[in-house]
């Protein structure tokens, strides 16, 4: 569905010397520096996949997404999405994709969301019956009914995002580009949006590309992740493998019925006592042995084995990059 080969985007941005003198000088003589936002990115995404883009701010995630959606013209490399070259922005291509940006909105501010939906129906030239069916489905999935007739300016951020999603999906695109769709939303609303995106993908088999600052979004939705840093693809593969590769340890925590004797504590190594419980970071291959031993030797009341949080995994990946 998506093929990207050697994709590169170089911006020319004005270089300004600091201070007033620098500003004055830049009016008459402006120096430019080249900023490589995306550098030789290559990947393929099959139809129906859900892929998360991870990376620090300014890594180039959004630039890649915008080139895939045809908003930016690449400086180099090739992109095809659903068989089209996005930057040509052919109507047939634009009917097959959608882009939702958490920080920008297409809803008409002074009018109820229903009017934006009607407008999009006309702009995409949607068949009335099909539009009605899609809208009903979206209303049910996103629980939009009570929001439809209130001016958009009176909706909360989360309610607006639900309507944004509906407006973006009325034409039933095959490819969804979602740029930080949950940004700024409270936890309940984040979960609702996440659940909706997953359900939509399951029902329609649409390809989903998602960028998010919230690892929970990626963990819940994307079996595959592409990690981008400094414009380059640093990792492309299963989320599980990323975790296995960069977080080979599990956090084993044992809560006890009573403090252990010195002998019990010695037998249960590598677990050590911290704040009245026993815990250790254990390589995945040894988890079973450590847990078995703990259950045999210690007065266990509760035992947990946890993966490190995704944030930590990513931080480790970038830390390794820097070294």
């Amino acid at each position: 569905m998506i093929e990207v080969e050697g994709l590169t985007k170089v911006y020319r941005s004005p270089k300004k010397a600091p201070g007033l003198w620098g500003s004055l000088r830049s009016i008459f003589y402006r120096e430019y520096k080249k900023v490589t936002a995306v550098d030789q990115a290559s990947f393929r995404i099959a139809a129906g996949e859900r892929v998360g883009f991870l990376g620090p701010n300014g890594a180039g995630k959004t630039t890649i997404l915008k080139m895939l959606a045809g908003l930016l013209v690449p400086t180099g490399g090739t992109v095809t999405v659903a068989g089209f070259t996005p930057s040509e922005r052919r109507p047939e291509f634009l009917r097959r994709i959608t882009l939702v940006m958490g920080q920008k909105q297409q809803l008409l501010w002074d009018l109820p969301a229903r009017e934006t939906f009607e407008l999009n129906r006309a702009l995409f030239d949607l068949d009335k019956a099909q539009y009605g069916a899609t809208l009903d489905e979206l209303i049910a999935l996103l629980e939009l009914e009570p929001l439809l007739d209130r001016p958009v300016r009176n909706l909360s951020l989360g309610e607006r995002m639900k309507c944004e999603l509906a407006a973006a999906l009325l034409h039933r695109p095959d490819v969804l580009f979602l740029d930080e769709p949950t940004i700024g939303l409270d936890v309940t609303m984040q979960v609702a949006v996440r659940r909706f995106i997953g359900e939509w993908n399951r029902r329609n088999g649409a390809t989903v590309l998602l960028t998010s600052h919230y690892m929970a979004d990626i963990a819940a939705l994307c079996p595959r992740v592409i990690v981008v840093a400094s414009g380059q693809v640093r990792y492309d593969g299963a989320l599980d493998e990323l975790v296995a590769q960069y977080a080979p340890d599990r956090h084993v925590v044992v809560r006890l019925l009573r403090p252990p004797t010195a002998e019990e504590a010695a037998q249960s190594a590598p677990l050590s006592q911290v704040d009245g419980r026993m815990e250790a970071l254990v390589p995945v291959s040894e988890v079973k042995a450590v847990v078995d031993r703990a259950l045999r030797t210690l007065p266990v009341s509760d035992l947990t084995v946890e993966e490190p949080p995704l944030e930590e995994v990513i931080a480790r990946l970038f830390a390794r990059e820097k070294r």
């Binding site: 911006y11 908003l71 013209v73 109507p91 959608t98 920008k104 999009n120 030239d125």
Partner: protein, 265 residues
């Protein structure tokens, strides 16, 4: 044909949304009508002063001059009601990056930004201008027939096309410079020179208003047509100039769109 119908439906839907937004502030509609009448009065005052001491200026009597004023007011209404709200919003769209959503629709982006914010608010203004030109033309010793009136309206359309194109040039620069609001105010000021027949100006100003920014052509030609003084060649020239401006604006827009870098998230 099917494509054309689809485009018309899309344009209608855009305008419907814009009008509905405008209706939210329905008092302004009444206010605009009153302001337009007052404005017309003020526009006429300098002419009354100028004509107080003489019969005609450069071959234009007071009444004939008012035809130019009428055309000017109509054109001003078109600029302020249909061109400025639409194309002026492009600067905002570029700055905020929301032009993204326009570019994501399967319709021509230039067409969409050109109609999206059309509102009826300035219709009274345009009406007052057309009425003034019409009434003054009817009072001429040799009033124009339907053919001349048709040519005059066609020339007004040409004027609209030229004005629209110039505005497209201006907003296209916003893809490079981002803040160009001031340039559009400059255009509105330059259009102000169109309230008098172009022959009133001399020297460099007249050359500028005839050949570089053809404001003279925009307001004087329709009035000349109503007076029966515009040669077919003059009318054809106006058509050709309008077509050339439209074509150039299209090229400039397409180049600018490729430069669009979108505001980052």
């Amino acid at each position: 044909m099917k494509r054309l119908r689809q485009i018309l439906r899309a344009v209608r839907a855009q305008m419907r949304a814009a009008w509905m937004t405008a209706m939210q502030y329905r008092l302004s509609f009444l206010g605009e009508g009153i302001v337009s009448l007052l404005w017309t009065g003020f526009t006429v005052v300098p002419l009354i002063v100028a004509y107080d001491y003489r019969e005609g200026i450069e071959g234009w009597s007071f009444n004939e001059c008012l035809i130019v004023v009428g055309v000017f007011i109509a054109l001003q209404g078109i600029l302020e009601g249909f061109i400025h709200p639409n194309l002026g919003s492009v600067v905002q769209l570029v700055r905020r990056g929301t032009l993204d959503y326009v570019l994501l629709k399967p319709l021509d982006a230039q067409l969409m930004v050109s109609v999206a914010r059309s509102t009826p608010l300035k219709l009274p203004h345009i009406g007052v201008g057309l009425a003034l030109a019409g009434v003054m033309a009817a009072r001429l010793p040799d009033p124009p027939g339907p053919a001349q009136a048709g040519v005059a309206l066609l020339l007004l359309l040409c004027a609209t096309a030229i004005l629209y194109s110039i505005y497209v040039f201006i907003v296209s620069t916003s893809f490079w410079f981002v803040r160009v609001d001031n340039l559009s105010f400059l255009l509105i000021s330059v259009l102000d020179t169109g309230r008098f027949p172009v022959v009133f100006y001399t020297g460099a100003v007249r050359v500028f208003l005839t050949f570089i920014l053809p404001v003279g052509m925009m307001t004087t030609y329709p009035a000349l047509a109503l007076r029966g003084l515009l040669s077919p060649r003059g009318a054809l020239t106006a058509l050709a100039v309008a077509a050339a401006f439209l074509l150039a604006s299209r090229l400039v827009w397409r180049t600018a769109i490729r430069r669009y870098s979108s505001a980052s998230s």
